[in-house]
């Protein structure tokens, strides 16, 4: 049973220096409440908005990257009215099609690589708008807190709103779409989406036979897949029982991992949109858009293709690198210093990411850099150390920022490649562990144990596969037949 999913994504343009309509710093995270505010973003009477041109430029870049066929000739901002305490003017400056207004871009698409094929997800529109302030609940949440504080530091931060057509068919596809969108946003230097709350998603999902359910407040790409999977299961269960699914809005609770119904509005709210008379339309001349096209950087798909075609990477590896701009940049920086694409790609996409995840670190919070990684790759590539050693050394370098060449030198970590020498160690270990030798015929774990002992003796300098072969040969020599 295929799901029909559409997404509405809000991306904060965290790369901008200032807010959308005033000169307050855009970097509000960690600042004491209500310190990054001014008459404009507090909506004080008489203060007037002035459009941050950089935000418009970034929006045009995104529109181009998302293949939008229609980019507005004039950027028009409209007012959307509703009363809410996080909205200082009780209207939000946004974009709207109607009454003389229009989104900055419409009618685009994004292609997903799915099982060898290409799926095209249509983009309905892109809007530029201001973020409201933030409500802080002193106890519990919106329903239980006895008092609510308002922090307007976020008020007026530039947002991009990206709305897709309902072209996604599964929670996984939704995640893949968002991963790619995130990569594009980062490639265009619009935002650092690893920042808390910088990407917020509302999703519409329906199953055949059920009405459209909106899930609000999803805070990350991973959560989107979880929330939608939850909805698929919930809706499927309802439908299989013959229950009806009506149109409703639900709230994603990431702590409990469930969606919960929000208070149902009795009627559709009328936002009374009209073009903001304080903001005259900004013309977007053709030449400006053409120059933006020329300025577009290489995008994730193209980069991935290059990694496959020119670096000989597997598609999976190329994808893993290309979808993470900082990782891909790191990769290419390393290659400039030492050319070993496949080795470096594995070291980064497998070993290094594994290291970060295990230690709950984000890129940049460790001490690895392209110089050190290039040295490390050279050690492995030139067989000074084994790949296994390389992996362990990478962890150490990332933790301590030490020079791998010096460590190998100082600690005598050069790989043990002489079979002669290894064989002597193997003999010694086998001699010393009669019980394991006795067990080896029946229990393959005993072989592993012996291999492990030899590896320890060599301080990891030996190739594990070679050690295993030598151990098996040694056992055979002693009349113990071991299944390979």
């Amino acid at each position: 049973m295929e799901a029909v999913i559409g997404l509405e994504i809000h991306v904060q343009m965290t790369s901008l220096k200032t807010k959308l309509f005033c000169r307050c710093p855009a970097d509000y995270r960690g600042a004491p409440p209500n310190t990054h505010v001014c008459p404009v973003c507090l909506g004080l009477p008489g203060a007037l908005p002035v459009v941050n041109r950089e935000a418009v430029k970034k929006a045009v870049m995104l529109a181009l990257a998302l293949n939008c066929r229609h980019i507005a000739e004039k950027v028009v901002f409209s007012r959307k009215h509703y009363f809410y305490p996080d909205l200082p003017k009780n209207y939000q400056i946004t974009q709207f099609k109607g009454g003389g207004g229009a989104p900055i871009a419409e009618d685009g698409y994004l292609e997903l690589l799915q099982g060898g094929g290409v799926r095209r997800v249509r983009i309905r529109r892109i809007n530029v708008e201001e973020d409201p302030g933030r409500l802080v609940y002193t106890e519990g949440d919106i329903t239980s807190s006895p008092e609510v504080l308002i922090d307007y530091n976020r008020s007026g931060i530039a947002l991009l709103e990206i709305v897709t057509e309902p072209d996604l068919r599964s929670p996984k596809e939704a995640r893949l779409f968002l991963e790619k969108l995130r990569a594009i946003v980062e490639y265009l230097d619009i935002a650092d989406l690893s920042l808390e709350g910088s990407m917020r998603v509302d999703a519409n999902i329906s199953l055949p036979g059920g009405a459209r359910v909106e899930v609000k407040n999803i805070g990350s790409v991973k959560e989107v897949e979880k929330a939608l999977s939850y909805e698929v299961v919930r809706q499927r269960a309802l439908l299989s029982r013959g229950a009806a699914i009506g149109r409703e809005t639900r709230h994603w609770d990431p702590l409990r991992g469930v969606t919960r119904p929000l208070r149902v509005k009795e009627e559709e709210e009328d936002y009374r949109y009209f073009p903001d008379p304080d903001l005259p339309p900004i013309p977007l001349p053709r030449e400006l858009i053409d120059s933006a096209v020329a300025m577009l950087p290489e995008l994730p798909d193209a980069r991935m293709r290059r990694f496959v075609e020119e670096h000989g990477l597997s598609r999976e590896l190329a994808y893993a690198l290309a979808m993470d701009k900082r990782l891909a940049d790191f990769y290419e920086e390393t290659l400039k210093r030492f050319w070993a694409p496949r080795l470096v790609a594995v070291m980064l996409a497998v070993d290094y990411l594994g290291f970060l995840e295990k230690n709950r670190l984000r890129m940049g919070e460790d001490r690895l850099n392209p110089d050190l990684l290039a040295k490390l790759a050279r050690l492995v590539e030139e067989k000074v150390i084994t790949p296994e050693q390389g992996k362990h050394l990478l962890f150490r370098v990332a933790r301590e920022g030490v020079d791998p060449v010096e460590i190998v030198e100082r600690e005598g970590l050069k790989a043990l490649r002489s079979e002669e020498e290894l064989r002597r160690i193997v003999e010694r270990v086998v001699e010393a562990n009669p019980k394991a030798v006795a067990d080896a015929a029946r229990n393959p774990k005993a072989v592993n144990f012996l291999v492990g002992r030899v590896m320890r003796e060599t301080r990891g300098r030996a190739e594990p596969r070679l050690v295993r072969r030598l151990v098996v040969e040694e056992l055979r020599r002693r009349g113990v037949e071991v299944g390979e």
Binding site: G43, L48, V50, P85, P88, G99, Y271, Y273, F274, P277
Partner: protein, 482 residues
């Protein structure tokens, strides 16, 4: 000449030369205010201490040999919808009681840079919605010429302060006539600039696309002087014109023999009051005798301009006034929940006229009606502009009565919104078209002045100031303090 009648040009000149102490002069203005305020109520906030302190600074600067600027020491009244840092900014509304802006409007910055002394914040119709200064939550302002009558509005406090001699210059704002109307009724000169010529930064918005801050004065030179200080591009206002500047405040030397004046028939005939029309004609005949060519022209769209104006103004107002909810500043009524507090605050904080316009404006913008009303009104607006510009291609200026009736008695108009709205028939076209217009004194009816309004082409302020000067010479009406 009494000190309170002195033109600003002379006050500034004397203060700059050290021939007049700013403190002596400002004290005199403040004494004058003390004597007249009980009857006139031109001010919501009088800034006695602040003004005197500022005057002392000006005197000291002069003593040090510095030049305090072109408005050195001059007492300026500022309408209470223009932000002065730290000074209560009520807009004539209860809902903004206690709100003190933490910033200066751009025009206020410019006043202070030129040495002006702000003597107070003047009374106005609540949020500038009215033409009589009776909808103010701080009581009506009375016309110094005739205390039974209104001073016009919404910048009625500014006009009354000039006529009463409790200010030498005044700032007003004009959304649909709010400078020109009180100028007409208080015997003063008032200019509504070309849209975008003066920064709106710090002007509490009523209808953003229509309004401008503008100067009010008792003679043309003062009007031009104040205008020259406030005019000019402001990067903080996106609707501010790039090429506006002090050149717009020049008084053009108009040769009456070369002046072609178009008299808008609809603004001098029925339903315009005959006595008002007679005073306008009297002025025009004088200009004619000085050599000007005076022809009658027709502006048939006038009838549609008024409803179009009110639709646009109310729509924008309903949006602008949404922010007053008691959460952040100003008046707050108690409530058990945030929603209740907001409803109660707005119920008690806004007056009737404001509520009426919020309701109508909200209705106009509803999804089902916005095309039918708002978008259609914008089309009428464009048509009005085209029609006026077409007339202005054949005539240098267009003229008519500023107000169709003499200054009403208190309470006479304000109770009936339609009667109130029709008072603006002659003034709203200039706001719809975004063109400059000036009101000059034409004569006296019922013991209070009436005015003639000249409209000019975009950026035509120098011409209008020149025509204003001609009128001043023709009528001899200037520097009148009652």
């Amino acid at each position: 000449m009494r000190i309170e009648e002195m033109p600003a040009t002379i006050v500034a000149e004397m203060v700059r030369r050290g021939d007049l102490s700013a403190v002596d002069y400002v004290s005199r203005i403040l004494e004058r205010a003390e004597r007249t305020e009980d009857r006139v109520n031109a001010y919501i906030t009088l800034l006695k201490d602040l003004a005197l302190k500022r005057a002392e600074e000006i005197d000291r600067a002069v003593g040090r040999g510095e030049d305090p600027g072109r408005l050195a020491g001059v007492a300026v009244a500022v309408k209470d919808n223009i932000a002065v840092r730290g000074v209560e900014n009520t807009c004539g509304s209860r809902i903004l009681k206690g709100y003190r802006p933490p910033f200066n409007a751009t025009v206020v910055e410019r006043l202070l840079m030129e040495g002006a002394v702000i003597v107070g914040k003047t009374n106005m119709d609540e949020f500038a919605m009215g033409s009589t200064t009776e909808t103010s939550a701080y009581g009506p302002t009375r016309n110094p010429w005739n205390l039974e009558r209104v001073p016009g509005g919404s910048s009625g406090g500014s006009g009354a302060a000039l006529a009463a001699g409790s200010a030498t210059l005044a700032l007003g704002s004009d959304t649909g006539g709010s400078i020109r109307c009180p100028a007409a009724y208080t015997g003063t000169y008032g200019l509504k600039p070309t849209y975008g010529a003066v920064s709106r930064y710090g002007l509490v918005p009523y209808a953003n696309s229509l309004e401008q801050i503008g100067p009010m004065a008792r003679n043309t030179e003062d009007l031009a002087l104040l205008y020259s200080v406030i005019v000019g591009h402001d990067p903080r206002d996106s609707t501010s014109l790039r090429d506006s500047g002090a050149h717009l405040a020049r008084i053009e030397n108009v040769d009456p023999a070369k002046l072609r004046i178009g008299v808008i028939r609809e603004l001098v005939e029925e339903p315009v009051d005959k006595r008002v029309a007679r005073e306008v004609w009297r002025l025009l005949h004088k200009l004619e005798s000085m050599g000007a060519e005076v022809d009658e022209v027709s502006l048939p769209l006038v009838d549609y301009a008024l409803p179009a104006y009110y639709i646009v103004a109310m729509a924008e107002a309903s949006s602008n006034l949404a922010r007053y909810d008691g959460t952040r500043y100003g008046f707050r009524a108690p409530g058990a929940t945030w929603e209740e507090m907001v409803v109660e605050t707005r119920t008690r904080g806004f007056g009737w006229e404001v509520k009426r316009r919020i309701m109508l404006g909200s209705f106009i913008l509803l999804a089902g009606y916005v095309e039918q009303y708002y978008v259609k009104a914008l089309r009428v607006r464009s048509a009005v502009r085209r029609e006026i510009l077409s007339l202005l291609s054949r005539h240098h200026v267009l003229v008519g009565a500023t107000m169709p009736i003499p200054a009403p008695r208190l309470g006479e108009r304000v109770k009936d919104p339609l009667l109130l709205y029709t008072m603006d028939i002659a003034t709203v076209p200039a706001n719809l078209a975004g063109i400059p217009a000036v009101s000059v004194p034409a004569g006296i009816v019922d013991g209070a002045p009436v005015g003639a309004q000249f409209m000019g082409p975009p950026m035509g302020e120098p011409l209008l100031l020149g025509v204003s000067k001609l009128c001043e010479e023709a009528t001899g009406f200037r520097d009148r303090v009652v």
